[in-house]
């Protein structure tokens, strides 16, 4: 990745300790604008911890990281959302008693009726905005092939549909930086394919994507840039090809004695 572009997200340093254990201690992770950057690494590498620290869900981190040149270290999630930084979770998190449509309307960032005074006293204004948001929500539901379930409670979705809804909600926020925590975890291959399509579409709409992923095929297929972490540190970063060929990455994933069989699986 050339260093000439200013990164959209720049983690200068980030450190998170739990008691004496250093879970994350990274420096200089960059996410270029309009890129798809993936964060890989074996279990316990600190990927999700780093995600939680940057997205404001874990406020115990130290360091400084910036979004579009602005320092966002230890900002709260709602402050980040106002700047366009939106995250999802590993497990699907449908808001169960709200319908799919309501889940999406909830996600819109520009609804003034979320203030109780305006909710009470400027009904026409928020209802107009609600109608506009509903148009966008219907488009997204159609794209995600969830239109028929628009009015069903989100609690009735299957796990895979839940993942789609999570992505839809994130897109409804019109994110500038979309942080996806293992979007493909536990979904069947066909759904994974369509998730990939949606992620590519998101980028074409102008968003930058940072995601944690285990599936190397997916990483190789869609990432522009890969950051591999192990034991809380950045091991290697570069293009998917570079990272996957790096001996330290293979070592981190497969242990020190790299048997030919294991290596063969890796390159499959």
């Amino acid at each position: 990745m050339p260093d000439t572009v200013t990164p959209l997200l720049h983690v200068h340093t980030a450190r998170r300790e739990f008691g004496g254990l250093v879970a994350v201690d990274v420096r200089d992770i960059t996410v270029a604008p309009k890129s798809i950057t993936s964060l890989i690494g074996p279990n316990g590498a600190g990927k999700s911890t780093l995600f939680n620290v940057i997205s404001g869900f874990d406020r115990g981190g130290k360091g400084d990281w910036a979004f579009d040149g602005e320092d966002i270290s230890n900002w709260s999630p709602h402050e980040l959302a106002a700047r366009g930084v939106i995250r999802t979770f590993q497990a699907a998190r449908p808001i169960a008693t709200l319908s799919l449509m309501e889940n999406l309307l909830l996600s819109a960032q520009d609804q003034a009726g979320e203030h109780w005074m305006r909710a009470m006293f400027s009904r026409p204004a928020w209802r107009r905005r609600e109608a506009e948001n509903a148009d966008r929500a219907r488009e997204l539901l159609a794209r995600l092939k969830l239109s028929e379930l628009a009015d069903a409670p989100a609690g009735e979705l299957s796990g895979g549909q839940g993942k789609l809804l999570d992505l839809g909600r994130a897109l409804m926020c019109r994110p500038r930086l979309l942080m996806l925590d293992e979007p493909m975890a536990g979904v069947n291959p066909r759904l994974a394919e369509s998730l990939i399509e949606h992620i590519l579409w998101t980028r074409s709409e102008g968003a930058t994507v940072l995601f944690v992923e285990h599936n190397m095929d997916v990483v190789a297929e869609i990432s522009d840039h890969v950051v591999c972490m192990a034991a809380g540190k950045v091991l290697v970063s570069g293009t998917p090809h570079e990272v996957m060929r790096a001996p330290e990455v293979m070592e981190a994933y497969l242990g020190t004695d790299t048997e030919p069989d294991a290596a063969a699986i890796w390159h499959d």
Binding site: F57, H78, A81, P94, L98, L105, S107, W126
Partner: protein, 332 residues
């Protein structure tokens, strides 16, 4: 035994001032627990603050009634902030413990000898709302409507109570169906996911706690003005649980649930009471049995039994969805 009289007693109290007061308290709890999922076990603390805010402003400080109402509401807002700031960022159980404890602390402080110069201690204050009763257009005689008789003063306070219920029903109706209300419901379902969508969850929980507390304070005012007396021990913890009972009966998270629930709760409580009195005066075996018991306790045993039956057959309350199938059951 005169079943019709029992029914009449029950019906009278289901539309009386107590029911209106409890409807307000349960509506507040519905915002907190029914919509935002906040476990507030100290709703009675807000009632106490409301009732005393009114009574003490009038008696100790010689202020007009409306100032008392404002003071009571300001007190409820302060209590909500005081309880919410340390607990609302934590898991739900912390709020439950803090509210339960705070309500008891308030009751014990208000009845303590040290607080007597302000609160009048255990004896409390009586007959402080003369200004309110002076405005009563119905007179003090018995009034009768559809065979139900009530004194004019009771009709007056009940009318004001139900007007308040109507007003705040309209307010919650608008708010709950707005994007504001949608956020409360989302927080109840999944707080983390709601935060991830950029909502300031802490602020919304605080708003629900404070708004619900203000409704409880109004309920406390109606309750104490209707009995013309306020004492600390009238605000024991069981009132908080009566509010929960009323809410669950009517249906949590439904707009009409707390109102219907409060009416039904008082219908059952007074009906049971009246039934016992009838049984006692009738003598015989039933009378001996009933007479040997503390009727105040027995009425709540009967109310409890009715509640259990309701929960068995209508677990989501009368206005709640009939039977919600377990989430995800259709993928098994």
């Amino acid at each position: 035994m005169d079943i019709l009289a029992v029914f009449g007693d029950a019906l009278r109290s289901s539309v009386g001032p107590q029911a209106a007061a409890f409807a307000l308290v349960a509506m507040g709890l519905n915002l907190q627990f029914g919509y935002a999922g906040l476990l507030n076990f100290g709703q009675v603390g807000f009632m106490l603050i409301g009732g005393y805010g009114l009574a003490l402003s009038v008696t100790r400080f010689g202020q007009p009634l409306w100032v008392g109402v404002v003071v009571g509401l300001a007190g409820a807002i302060a209590l909500g902030l005081l309880l919410g700031i340390p607990t609302l960022r934590l898991r739900g159980d912390y709020l439950a413990i803090a509210t339960l404890g705070a309500a008891e602390i308030l009751r014990l402080s208000f009845r303590s000898a040290g607080a007597e110069p302000l609160t009048y201690g255990v004896l409390g204050v009586q007959q402080y709302a003369r200004g309110f009763y002076a405005a009563n257009p119905f007179g003090s005689g018995e009034l009768s409507l559809f065979g139900l008789s009530m004194t004019g003063t009771q009709v007056w306070i009940a009318l004001v109570g139900w007007l308040l219920v109507g007003l705040f029903f309209a307010v919650t109706f608008v708010l709950i169906r707005s994007p504001w209300g949608r956020i409360l419901r989302a927080i109840r379902d999944d707080e983390e996911a709601t935060r991830a969508l950029g909502k300031n969850v802490f602020s919304y929980k605080m708003q629900a706690l404070v708004f619900g507390g203000c409704l409880a304070a109004l309920g406390g005012m109606v309750l104490t003005v209707s009995s013309q007396s306020i004492t600390p021990d009238a605000f024991s913890s069981e009132l908080s649980f009566f509010a929960f009972a009323a809410l669950l009966l009517g249906g949590r998270g439904t707009l009409g649930g707390p109102i219907l629930g409060a009416m039904l709760f008082w219908f059952l409580a007074s009906g049971a009471d009246s039934l016992l009195r009838q049984a006692m005066s009738a003598g015989g075996l039933g009378g001996t049995f009933a007479g040997g018991l503390n009727s105040g306790a027995v009425r709540f045993i009967l109310v409890g039994l009715a509640l259990v039956l309701f929960m068995l057959f209508r677990a989501n309350g009368i206005l709640g969805a009939k039977q919600r199938k377990p989430v995800g059951s259709d993928h098994a």
